[in-house]
């Protein structure tokens, strides 16, 4: 396969018809608002940029994975969203998403969106919470049909 073939294949992906979904996107819009998703996510330019941008998320992840994330978000943590817990030498604990790291420093965005840059020598504790996320599970608080509605809403954006 040469580069032209690869390019043609990639272009063809955009013409695949969208997946047919069971939920109602309009009801999903209301659930999105009531569940406070915008406190951590941006959708169509609105919200807070702590978690992944949800605009076009269905095209990137697919409906099944979005639904699975609502039920158990710790199993589908996306690349670049490693949760970190630090304790400074002054005894202050800060949890947040790792933005960057090298041998001597680490940069973290806390759950209010504030950026912290630390020399590692300033920290008494630096934990990488590999299978943890601050996103709650909606498996117990939303019904199956409400989850479908939420997926349908995100897929429509």
């Amino acid at each position: 396969m040469n580069l032209t073939d690869v390019a043609a294949f990639v272009r063809s992906l955009s013409s695949i018809p969208p997946e047919k979904l069971a939920g109602d996107p309009e009801r999903g819009r209301l659930i999105y608002a009531l569940s406070a998703c915008a406190h951590c996510h941006i959708l169509d330019g609105e919200g807070v940029g702590i978690g992944p941008d949800l605009t076009g998320i269905e095209a990137r992840r697919g409906a099944a994975q979005i639904r699975a994330t609502f039920i158990d978000p710790s199993k589908t943590i996306p690349h670049g969203f490693l949760l970190i817990e630090t304790v400074t030498s002054a005894g202050k604990t800060i949890r947040g998403i790792r933005l960057n790291e090298d041998t001597f420093t680490i940069q973290i965005k806390d759950l209010r969106g504030s950026i912290h840059s630390f020399r590692k020598t300033e920290l008494t504790q630096l934990k990488k919470l590999r299978n943890e996320t601050t996103m709650p599970s909606f498996g117990a608080t939303l019904s199956a049909s409400e989850l479908d509605d939420l997926v349908a809403y995100l897929a429509s954006r």
Binding site: L82, E101, D102, T103, F104, T121, K128, R130
Partner: protein
């Protein structure tokens, strides 16, 4: 003005580097006259102005922008002038400012293909009034030190067969020794020496023996013709023994050993060659019948130490296969060896230094997870030996891969791999600088790195160890304890070896970080 006068005087009076100067490099610690500073591969600077007490005050003196990225150059420094190379380029820089004094380049042919490595050049060599550069398209070029004008050019190899040159040449006595790249292209490797005055080839040592030569029996059928054995990292030289020590890379195809049964000499070996004739004096094979791409392409470190009460001439190699070896450099006999990083392919080394296979480590069609990964527990960059601590400092990579075996047809000038690897998750990989007792390989300290490094190490008489990280940190550790003392974020991945030199009597250290050569000093 004072600088200009100095440079002019240096150009007129000092732009001569007879071999005697390189031989006695320790008498002029402010210069860096050969790839590893000394012929023994130690990459140790006797300068001590920058030391444990004041290194925290180190600042950028200047930055020089290269015309390409991913620079791996280890510069030469002669009396206030720095000589650098890039892919088919060379330049002289003012050590006070980093400004170009002259520049040379040679076009890379449009049909040139880099098979298995990037477009890079790890540095020049110097002898008498010439600077020597090995080009990607296979030429050894001698330039006039003062002007950069081409004095002579000799074709070493045919790049259309997959050969190339990326290493810094090694000037010894009246010759220039070069090795070649191409271990992923089914080449047959060699080491060459050329007359420094004329460019005429003095000798060639083939790393894969031909029919009738000793060692040929370690290959099956015609596999020797495409057996690899590249020699792409600069070697070392013992002027008393008149021996050249050079590492030999992986066999071809890399990951499918079914096509080349046997030990596959002299791949993954250290060879000791007579400097006058290129004849093999001895060899030591680290990884017989190697199937993970663990080239033994390393700068060997020559040092003397007491072993069991007797003073011995030794050579040490921290190998890509995760074992550290000490050999007798007169005879090539194994002295001691031990793993210095995680490895899962060998149970241990036997009394002769031969690995005892752990089993189930060969690549397979389904894939097998093995430590280390194909780039190894260390790779081409340099280790450093400090005569003050007696330690060898190794930049270590802790990372595994899933190795696959595939069928592979040979087509000249293209990939001849026989498989591949998938590296395990980046967050499960890490790196370290480890200090090993040179004579025994016992670990004395470790400084952990965020990720597997691509930078070499330089120890200094200031009690420091300098190195770089993949995330761009250039840093100094306490050579005795590994405690971090200073670091600087360069903004570019560091895939190079540090050097140290003097400018107007004051110490500088320099490192290439992606597109920039940085020089640091206390002033």
């Amino acid at each position: 003005m004072r600088w200009l006068i100095c440079i002019a005087l240096c150009s007129c009076l000092e732009a001569q580097v007879p071999f005697d100067r390189i031989l006695h490099a320790d008498t002029e610690p402010g210069n860096w006259l050969t790839y590893s500073r000394d012929l023994g591969g130690k990459r140790y600077s006797p300068l001590s102005e920058i030391n444990r007490q004041n290194v925290r005050h180190l600042k950028v003196k200047w930055a020089h922008q290269f015309s390409n990225g991913n620079n791996e150059v280890s510069p030469i420094v002669i009396d206030g002038i720095i000589y650098i190379t890039g892919p088919n380029t060379a330049a002289a820089l003012d050590a006070h400012t980093g400004r170009d004094l002259w520049h040379w380049s040679r076009s890379i042919p449009t049909d040139y293909r880099s098979v298995g490595f990037g477009l890079t050049s790890r540095g020049p060599a110097v002898l008498d009034d010439k600077l020597f550069i090995a080009t990607l398209d296979g030429f050894l070029v001698a330039l006039d030190l003062k002007s950069g004008a081409q004095r002579w050019l000799t074709q070493v190899l045919d790049y259309k067969l997959g050969y190339s040159m990326t290493m810094a040449p090694l000037a010894i006595e009246d010759k220039v020794v070069v090795g070649i790249s191409g271990g992923e292209a089914g080449i047959r490797g060699f080491i060459d020496a050329y007359d420094a005055k004329t460019g005429k080839r003095a000798w060639r040592f083939w790393t894969i023996p031909a029919p009738g030569e000793p060692g040929h029996e370690t290959w099956t059928g015609d596999s020797w013709k495409t057996g690899g054995g590249p020699t792409w990292v600069t070697g070392a030289y013992d002027p008393e023994l008149k021996l050249v020590y050079w590492g030999v890379g992986n066999p071809g195809p890399d990951w499918n050993g079914d096509l080349r049964h046997g030990d596959n000499l002299y791949t993954c070996s250290l060879v000791a060659l007579d400097a006058g004739t290129g004849k093999l004096r001895w060899y030591f094979q680290f990884t017989p019948h190697e199937t993970h791409d663990w080239d033994s392409a390393h700068v060997p470190v020559l040092f003397d130490a007491e072993v069991n009460g007797a003073k011995r001439k030794l050579v040490a190699v921290a190998n890509r296969n995760a074992f550290y070896y000490v050999l007798d450099r007169v005879s090539g006999k194994f002295v001691v060896g031990r793993a210095y990083a995680k490895q899962t392919w060998a149970k241990r080394l036997d009394a002769a230094g031969k690995p005892i296979p752990a089993g189930n480590a060969d690549p397979s069609p389904e894939g097998r997870v093995v430590w280390p990964n194909a780039n190894g527990a260390t790779v081409w960059y340099s280790t450093s030996f400090s005569p003050e601590t007696g330690y060898i400092y190794v930049s270590v990579r802790e990372i595994a891969s899933r190795y696959f075996k595939r069928e592979t047809p040979y087509k000249p000038g293209t990939e001849f791999l026989g498989g591949g690897e998938d590296e395990l998750s980046a967050d499960d990989a890490w790196g370290a600088i480890r200090a090993l007792q040179a004579a025994t390989g016992e670990q004395r300290w470790e400084f952990k790195l965020h990720s597997p490094p691509w930078a070499g190490v330089m120890a200094t008489a200031g009690g420091l160890v300098f190195s770089g990280s993949d995330e761009g940190n250039f840093y100094a550790l306490d050579a005795g304890t590994g405690k971090p003392l200073w670091d600087f974020q360069t903004g570019g991945s560091i895939d190079a070896n540090p050097i140290a030199f003097n400018v107007e009597g004051h110490e500088c250290v320099a490192i290439a970080a992606d597109r920039v050569l940085f020089a640091f000093s206390l002033e």
